[in-house]
Symmetry: C2
Subunit: 195 residues, 2 copies
């Protein structure tokens, strides 16, 4: 039996509960009932904060996407040679992914069954495209190797970065966000082999 | 209405149908009914070939695991400096992943709810460990950079390789297995930045 708790949520704190439930059960598999149970408040209390689960999804993936897009406006992403701007973006992507882990995890699992999911996929593609453009510019400058095709390289680098959500656990006191970011930047830009 | 087709399956051809259904619906979400429908033969015909869906899972993930473990016995993985053996293994992992795409996809999605799944996870961990040991040996030789921790590097490299199942589509006539393998080996060992 669950004891209803007094509703002390704000839309933001409710969001952090919802994201965890979405990640555990999948967005499609989550009902308002599940959210109400996890939050310990009634469904009508949830409706007091948000219009429904799709609004929670939109807020959650927006938080991830806003974090990622903000990187592109940072000075390190705007000034200097393309290859250095690209390295800044790669490093910061890892840091944002780790800082906003549950939100980025949810974003990466979005499949496109609802309008909000399709909108999120569209924004993800837009972000990927902006990063691919940086890589293309760095190749045009002759600063990155020419023997790996830009689209393929972009996919592989995103694959490495996004895979972090599969194993990174903040509570396990392993590497910090900046440490993982350093490791990714070293691997991607300089490679494993000792020169 | 489905018309039952004459059962011309062997355990191997039945397996390729089953793997596709497992990948589409998830192993947990697949019933013998789904398999019977997809194969176009009766459930009792399926039981003529295999003892049930868990045997199909075991055969499928065995095919992926056997392909991966066979790499470790190849000459390129056994002779020479550790860093070169590691590069051989990384390249061949990508080729095996692409050659056995549906089987490796299924292997990477195994979650551990049944004895067969737990056995598959155990063998995956064993394989990952063997690759990490190679990386450790290459680091001890001074052939790979010392400023990326071995466990972290192994996870990131596996993350890049395993992410290929998310986007690689053999029918789209993009890069071939060996081309993707080259790209991964270049990125992982030499990095993007032009020396």
């Amino acid at each position: 039996m669950t004891t209803a708790k007094r509703d002390t949520y704000t839309p933001e704190t409710l969001l952090s509960v919802a994201v965890q439930v979405f990640n555990d059960r999948g967005y499609d598999g989550t009902s308002m009932e599940h959210l109400s149970k996890a939050a310990g408040i009634s469904k009508s209390s949830i409706y007091h904060h948000v219009s429904g689960k799709e609004e929670l999804l939109r807020r959650a993936v927006s938080r991830a996407l806003d974090g990622l897009f903000a990187i592109l406006d940072e000075e390190g992403a705007c000034a200097g040679r393309a290859v250095d701007r690209l390295e800044h973006v790669v490093r910061r992507m890892v840091e944002v992914l780790i800082a906003e882990l549950p939100y980025v995890t949810l974003l990466l699992r979005v499949r496109g069954n609802t309008a909000t999911e399709r909108w999120a996929l569209e924004r993800r593609r837009d972000f990927d495209h902006r990063v691919a453009e940086l890589l293309k510019a760095a190749a045009a400058d002759g600063d990155v190797r020419g023997d790996v095709e830009v689209r393929l390289a972009t996919r592989l680098v995103f694959g490495m970065i996004n895979s972090i959500v599969e194993w990174y656990r903040p509570e396990s006191r392993g590497a910090s966000g900046p440490e993982v970011a350093d490791a990714v930047a070293r691997l991607v830009f300089a490679g494993l082999r000792q020169a």
